[in-house]
Subunit: 304 residues, 4 copies
Amino acid sequence: MDYQKVIDRIHGELLELWGQGKVADYIPALAKVNPRQFGIALITLDGQEFLSGDAGVCFSVQSISKVFTLAMVTRHIGDGIWKAVGREPSGNPFNSLVQLEHEQGFPRNPFINAGALVVTDRLISLYPHPKDAILEFVRGLCGNDDIYYDKEIARSELDHADRNMALAYFMKSFGNIENDVDILLDVYCHQCAISMSCEDLARAFLFLCNRGTNPLNGEQVLTVSQAKRLGALMLTCGFYDESGDFAFRAGLPGKSGVGGGIAAYIPGNLSVTVWSPELNRHGNSLIGMEALERLTTDIGNSIF
Amino acid sequence: MDYQKVIDRIHGELLELWGQGKVADYIPALAKVNPRQFGIALITLDGQEFLSGDAGVCFSVQSISKVFTLAMVTRHIGDGIWKAVGREPSGNPFNSLVQLEHEQGFPRNPFINAGALVVTDRLISLYPHPKDAILEFVRGLCGNDDIYYDKEIARSELDHADRNMALAYFMKSFGNIENDVDILLDVYCHQCAISMSCEDLARAFLFLCNRGTNPLNGEQVLTVSQAKRLGALMLTCGFYDESGDFAFRAGLPGKSGVGGGIAAYIPGNLSVTVWSPELNRHGNSLIGMEALERLTTDIGNSIF
Amino acid sequence: MDYQKVIDRIHGELLELWGQGKVADYIPALAKVNPRQFGIALITLDGQEFLSGDAGVCFSVQSISKVFTLAMVTRHIGDGIWKAVGREPSGNPFNSLVQLEHEQGFPRNPFINAGALVVTDRLISLYPHPKDAILEFVRGLCGNDDIYYDKEIARSELDHADRNMALAYFMKSFGNIENDVDILLDVYCHQCAISMSCEDLARAFLFLCNRGTNPLNGEQVLTVSQAKRLGALMLTCGFYDESGDFAFRAGLPGKSGVGGGIAAYIPGNLSVTVWSPELNRHGNSLIGMEALERLTTDIGNSIF
Amino acid sequence: MDYQKVIDRIHGELLELWGQGKVADYIPALAKVNPRQFGIALITLDGQEFLSGDAGVCFSVQSISKVFTLAMVTRHIGDGIWKAVGREPSGNPFNSLVQLEHEQGFPRNPFINAGALVVTDRLISLYPHPKDAILEFVRGLCGNDDIYYDKEIARSELDHADRNMALAYFMKSFGNIENDVDILLDVYCHQCAISMSCEDLARAFLFLCNRGTNPLNGEQVLTVSQAKRLGALMLTCGFYDESGDFAFRAGLPGKSGVGGGIAAYIPGNLSVTVWSPELNRHGNSLIGMEALERLTTDIGNSIF
């Protein structure tokens, strides 16, 4: 399979979709990004890398970071985390409080905001320097020590965190947040503001593609079973209330962020990250969703 | 892999769970089944069959039939069906009306009752003799002409169909049901009352395992893409509000029924059906769910 | 107080609002009414009658009939009815199923459709000829034997009763409907199709204004306590999800119908009915709501 | 009418209900109150006062303060407040976020917590020293300069304000809170911690009983129309999700607080406050609700 040719063709064909989506504007710092950017990075388990377009440009990973923090917490407390957060698709938008009220502060899954806040809360309980620990973990995954928080975005997120503050206080009122809400939001806004390129992210997801073990350095990040489970969660919950549709169309485990990035993989085969800032109405990259659907169609491979 | 040994061991180990679940009792005819039954049928794509326990005993397939009717309608009108029903996990119980009201009579997916009623409604519009057509389709899938409706169960379902009547009239009030509600319920209650064994069902799902083409007779039932999509729907929506958990634990596309059956498969590899009548609190076979989780663990294979 | 002058002035001033609302069109027979009609009838407890505009024209009382059936059932089973229906405002539209699902088939109050269906269901259990009994009761209240069902409207309601069928089957699935759903809907659609004038209705509500005893014939229809309670229900629940607003603006117990009528009263003082077919977005008569607010302001009297 | 005899008899009869309710325990300072206290104060518009039991003991008014702040804001901005908060019964518990999400941060009415927070937020925008202004207003209403905040309770409320923090941040995310959330919560927790006796409260509600003008000093606090409207709101929304039931049983405008107090009145006639700390499951004083129902029955007077 000539992956380079495939991703280059997809890259070329989809440029015509520029202008059909809308850059995230809920925080000023994100709204400033140039919308006309589009990158693809595809890395096979045997180590071949294929890049197209803006695959080397750094962007804000946003919710993709929820996979990293969940992996960190899973390593430490394993199935213990599932006492605090569920694993069912939510059927509601990413920042909804309705389900949370009906189920008494127990978030549906770790990839809606409420669930991710609980995961980060537990991470804060586990690590004395949580912000350093997250960076170190991500750097280790992709073998790149030049990964940093975008401080301007982190600050802008904190300045516009009313909804997430509400989610955190709401869960705290049910006893499902252990730490101070201000500290929690500081760490959470930083993790969302991690700045990485498609190439970095495609590398960082190789350990999931490889049943929990990082093929770059041989380190076992998660057990086989934990990796399988994280993949299942990404497939069923990785795209907010568009998760079912992404599974239906692309048939891959993946995770999107409102920065316009999507990291996905075919188990045992390859990791692929796409990025383009314009979002569809569900908050997922419009071009990115289309790119991954075409990719699985063109290479005739999905998990189904 | 010695599949016979694997399923026999699982069969033996799980007998101790008898008594922990509860046979479906919402209709009298279903409640009469002997709870202490447990069968496993595993069929590989290359034609080997492995049976254990009560794999040859016929039972009521109930919601597993929703896969058959969806496949029938998909063959005829393809993506047209998605104008009438969604493909997102519902996050609500199988017979909930709440989501239906918020989304104006458009059911979340074809595997909750509301969605399945819409699918059967369209099937009635397509076939002059819908009940005959369903039987014929299922017989063709598994190569067994001795598959029938259990008339007593169908009648009992019809006598206790108030909730499904409500769902159908509710969607009709939004214009999303084309046919007479009484006719719709008659067909629907019959499709739920199809009587099949684990062996029949494992064969009947081989076409999905084989990318749409029935390996028993070479017939293309669905296109590759349609088969992939049906698999994705089963994975994200096949187990009511326990779908995420099943994906998390077993990592397979599958579909359960309140008769206690579960049909699942590993794409390109094997089809497996388990059956035991006692249900957990989500309405899925308690022993069946456990059996499939152990199976994927023991054979070290899932889609992730 | 010169009531004639007051209602004539209000009648004259509000004609300019014609065209700002919308006649009910959910059934064809109702949609045919001439929208440019507006009547007021005000009757004091001491027997003076004041009429203005189309106060003698008969119209479809629709949901105003819910007060009559509730009074009939209350007479027979008293507080027993509150085991089957609640008395809290619903905060939801009149035909919503959401609350019903959350509270297991127990409707919030007797003036939303679900609650009214339960009341009529019990009335059917109490009377061998329920449709005759309702007419007889209403005729007795207003001393007019020429009150009938509008058969064309009743038939049209029945032909478009999908939503109410859904409500009835849904509650039956929870065991909260005793009779056959088809029979229930027949009686219910007839009670909504009672045809009365403003004058008839203002007389028919005098018994509530007079603490339960009909001043026209001295008959005690309800006890003092029952009449007080029915009034409280009308105030808190009589105008669907606009009940609070009507209490806020007019400060009177009252009941509206989608035919454009509103019956209201000042306890111990007077009964007043207004009618104009154009509805506001909550399904209440646009001109009628305004007329009653002006009336209580002009005569400086409400219950607060 | 010998009011003293009536309230003494009610006081005596209801003592047997002690132990059937439960003192509010959501903040430690409230939980410390002696549950076996019960006071009644009834004051007629012509100035007669009748006291029974613990009518002179000060307690925490809690949500009864929402009437005071609403009156203060109404005086200044009149109907302007209704752009920020609704006037429909909520049908949900007092601290629910569900409705708030469905209606985009616009609370149903000013007596649920969310609505009261919006009212206090506007009060903060209007007054440079809001906490002083509230005390001054309340002292003026009842002619008692010895009314203070219970500082221990205010502090305890602030320490356990997670749910109200969530409500405030949630509404702020929709743009419906103008001031800093920490400042808002400080004022709000203080207003809830006002300490008054039944006698104080019965006097403080006389202005509503008297169509807006304080009979103690002749000051017009609200216009006739504003007073009517505040009364309507109390009747439809004053008792959380038990408002309909209180209207049904007692038929009076009133407002309860989780401190166990209930202030109510018969327009143009009398003001009555009851207090007993044990609450029913809706958060209203169990003995207080019963006492007011008996009172209206015994004196044969309600608004209906």
